[in-house]
Amino acid sequence: MLYQWRSVLEYLPDFLRAMGLTLWITLLAFALALVCGLGAALARNSKNAVLRLGAGAYVEIVRNTPVLLQIFVVFFALPSFGLRMDAVTAGTVAIGVNVGGYLCEVFRAGISSVARAQREAAQVLGLSSRQAFISVIAPQALRNVYPATVNNLIQVLLGTSLLTAIAVPELTGVATVINARTLLFVQVFAIALVLYLVLSNALSFASGLLGRVLFKPPLEQVRPGLWPVRRARTITTTAEVAA
């Protein structure tokens, strides 16, 4: 039994390299998702009907079709329109655009969660609507959407595993290759599972710390991790669960 683990652990450098790629894709795709989400949320709240309709269509299409299909569309179908990307770029773009659709709804809920009187007060004080958004609405909305946004970051991480379907050498892809070579599936996938758990817990731990520094009063326990933490009973909102 032990020698099996040893022969799989020989591949540890490969696993770690794949883990690095997974993290890198996750962060890039999440950055793209934040941009798409914010843009779409602003567009959906704008007065321009075309923008509203376009953003609405984007959100509904992206949220009601599988991510895997979106990855394939970017990788296999966009080249017919002259947009050719390598697998890593295509996967990053597809996942970023996908999660952007979910973040749009999160951000919209966050913006509308800020009391209307705040907006009116800002107007009375003579702030332009852009100033009001940046210095009055956004800071309060950010606090409300932070936990759901972190959940979406984890969804990005889990989504990168699908890039194995377009042969990106990320964690799942590398694990399937090593499995095919060694046939020790328990060991191989157990290592991959643990590495994913390390990544997801590290990401939520880091965003928990960030939430403490960023907000006053500090946000507590953004997303429960694997190890038991004594915490006040949190109410899971439907928005949070859906994310």
Partner: protein, 216 residues
């Protein structure tokens, strides 16, 4: 666009779509059963039980679905001595994985029922099982249903990930046509439309019902 291509391959796609629907239905039933049990165990006061349930939830919520599917697929092949049918492996994997998410939904619903309800039921002489079945569970319905349907939508979309272990459902069947004809655009549009037709009405239902319960 090549409409003829869609027309020629439509029967094949629709047959695969049926497989997707069957897989979704079976996995929805499985994940709901697992989620209900695990969610209830998570609220239990017996220490080890609730922690085990919690570990289950956190492990599957912190790892991607393909890993679960690969585990189930290869694991069944090794321990059952023969290759399990792909449909079964996919359904089991999807149920186990989404069961963890469903468990969280049920837990939040169960915890939202005031303790007084439970105490009153106990006073009336109901057993713990009866209390859960007749007092607690019915009251969770309004809280649980919208996010539960939301989870089912993710599950339906996630059946496409059974692609990873070679299950021939809508996504895989479509990809086979793309590989054969080298015409990705019409095929992907058709697949997208088929998923959309199922998921969009459910999404609308979720949105309509979600708002009612948010202010407590």
């Amino acid at each position: 666009m090549n409409l003829e291509l869609i027309w020629d391959n439509l029967p094949q796609l629709l047959k695969a779509f049926l497989v997707t629907l069957e897989l979704s239905a079976v996995s929805i039933a499985g994940s709901t059963a697992i989620g209900l049990v695990v969610g209830a165990l998570r609220t239990s006061r017996v220490p080890v039980v609730s922690q085990l349930a919690r570990a289950y939830v956190e492990i599957f919520r912190g790892s991607p679905l393909p890993i679960t599917l690969l585990f189930v697929y290869f694991g069944a092949a090794l321990y059952l001595g023969y290759s399990v049918e792909l449909f079964v492996a996919s359904a089991v994997g999807l149920s186990i994985y989404h069961g963890a998410y469903v468990a969280e939904i049920f837990r939040s619903g169960i915890e939202a029922v005031p303790t007084g309800q439970r105490e009153a039921a106990q006073t009336l002489g109901l057993s713990p099982m009866q209390t859960f079945r007749y007092v607690v569970l019915p009251q969770t319905r309004r809280i649980v249903f919208p996010p539960l349907i939301g989870q089912y939508i993710s599950l339906i979309k996630d059946t496409s990930i059974a692609f990873v272990i070679g299950m021939v459902e809508l996504m895989k069947a479509g990809q086979a046509i793309v590989d054969r004809t080298a015409e990705p655009v019409p095929v992907y549009l058709t697949i997208a439309a088929l998923y959309f037709v199922i998921c969009y009405p459910l999404s609308l239902w979720v949105r309509r019902n979600e708002r009612k319960i948010v202010p407590a």
